[in-house]
């Protein structure tokens, strides 16, 4: 095909593009995979049984705020990196600051408790499954985030993959927090955070293969 033919073809199939097209693609891609991930949590793990009383506790809302901020920052990162020349610096800074605050809070909590309880606060009763569950819940979201980016124009694929992974992990941790009844700050600071960073790593590694265009 000659370049002239190509131009004729492309011109022929030109349609107006909405200024919000990228926004909607992010909403649709992550929205649908959020539904899948939530369904997975609901049918496979189940909601936490003490949901009603939990919403009255400070810890529920701390966990909620922590994962929500990371999820929003991650989603923003996916949107930003979808543009050529896009940068996720702002999102990364927000995420890093949020994690640092959480770690500081957790350490303060540890400092205020007698040392013999430290171990229990770190391991909770679900240490064996927490991070793994978040990573599993993040998989549909990772697929969704990859789908979003594959139709757009990220030019730095490893960074784009990392953004997709962090967003997927963060949203998954938000979903998981409706199942998990752990309430110790140090537990959240370590195992939730790990559950977000691992998908980020998976995304970064997969990015340059999956996201090529």
């Amino acid at each position: 095909m000659t370049t002239d033919d190509l131009i004729a073809r492309l011109t022929g199939e030109l349609k107006p593009v909405s200024r919000l097209a990228v926004f909607w693609r992010v909403v649709i891609g992550l929205g649908i995979s959020l539904v899948v991930s939530s369904a997975m949590m609901y049918f496979w793990l189940g909601m936490r049984p003490d949901m009603m009383t939990a919403t009255g506790t400070m810890m529920f809302w701390t966990k909620f705020a922590y994962t929500l901020i990371l999820a929003v920052a991650g989603t923003w990162a996916v949107k930003r990196i979808a543009y050529p020349l896009g940068s996720i610096r702002v999102s990364l800074a927000v995420m890093a600051a949020t994690i640092v605050v959480m770690i500081v809070l957790a350490m303060a909590k540890l400092a205020m408790t007698p040392p013999d309880q430290h171990m229990a606060m770190m391991t909770g009763h679900t240490i064996a499954v927490c991070t793994r569950n978040i990573v599993l819940l993040s998989l549909p979201l990772l697929v969704g985030a990859f789908w979003v980016l594959r139709g757009l124009a990220p030019t730095r694929l490893t960074v784009a993959g990392a953004a997709a992974g962090l967003a997927a992990g963060a949203i998954a941790s938000l979903v998981y927090s409706f199942h998990c009844d752990e309430s110790a700050m140090p537990f959240i600071a370590v195992w939730y955070t790990l559950g977000i960073l691992i998908p980020g790593l998976i995304g970064a590694i997969a990015g340059r293969f999956v996201l090529r265009w």
Binding site: M1, T3, L6, I7, A8, L10, T11, G12, L14, K15, P16, V17, S18, R19, A21, V22, R25, A82, Y83, P84, L85, G151, L152, A153, T155, R212, W213
Partner: protein, 184 residues
């Protein structure tokens, strides 16, 4: 602001609203810019890939045009895509790049559309000249070698180099005259 940027951006904004005429003009313009851009960055062995890269870039521009943010420079956006395609091409073909990639901004830094068009005109004209003369003209007039250098490297006498060039230029002149007559 850079006049090229202003012009291309206007065309792009109209294209995003669905104006096919502007889009056609834009793509034709960009095809020329891009060809020149890729040719300059591909080694001689890979120059043949330039047209493929131009087409791939135009196709990506088309399918991903929603990622153009209208409050940002159009040329920077297009350059990012072209550069991505070039790097992807190098990776796919395992080409080690020895030329700096990042004299980047000059995809549009100067208005090269005329320069590129001129270059194509020159090349087209040269095609119409017998091969021997074409080579001589190319070496002396475009690469800037001296008559003596060319004589030495081709094994011709200086006199026949001069004659060859003269014949070629006459052929080009005749061709140009013919074209001017056509235009009338």
């Amino acid at each position: 602001m850079n006049p090229v940027e202003t012009r291309l951006k206007e065309l792009m904004l109209a294209s995003l609203d669905g104006d096919a005429r502007s889009y056609g003009i834009l793509l034709n313009d960009l095809a020329r810019h891009l060809r020149f851009y890729f040719l300059r960055r591909l080694s001689d062995a890979h120059k043949g890939d330039a047209d493929d890269l131009v087409q791939e870039t135009l196709m990506s521009l088309h399918t991903r045009r929603a990622t153009y943010e209208t409050d940002r420079p159009f040329t920077a956006w297009l350059h990012a895509i072209a550069r991505y395609k070039l790097i992807d091409h190098f990776r796919r073909n395992r080409i080690r790049v020895t030329v700096p990639l990042d004299d980047a901004e000059d995809l549009f830094a100067v208005d090269q559309s005329d320069a590129a068009a001129d270059r194509m005109d020159v090349e087209r004209l040269l095609q119409s000249v017998p091969e021997k003369s074409r080579d001589l003209i190319y070496r002396t007039k475009i690469e800037g070698q001296s008559i003596a250098e060319v004589a030495q490297s081709t094994g011709l006498s200086e006199a026949s180099v001069k004659v060859g060039i003269h014949r070629g230029i006459k052929a080009i002149a005749a061709k140009l005259k013919g074209r001017a007559d056509d235009d009338r």
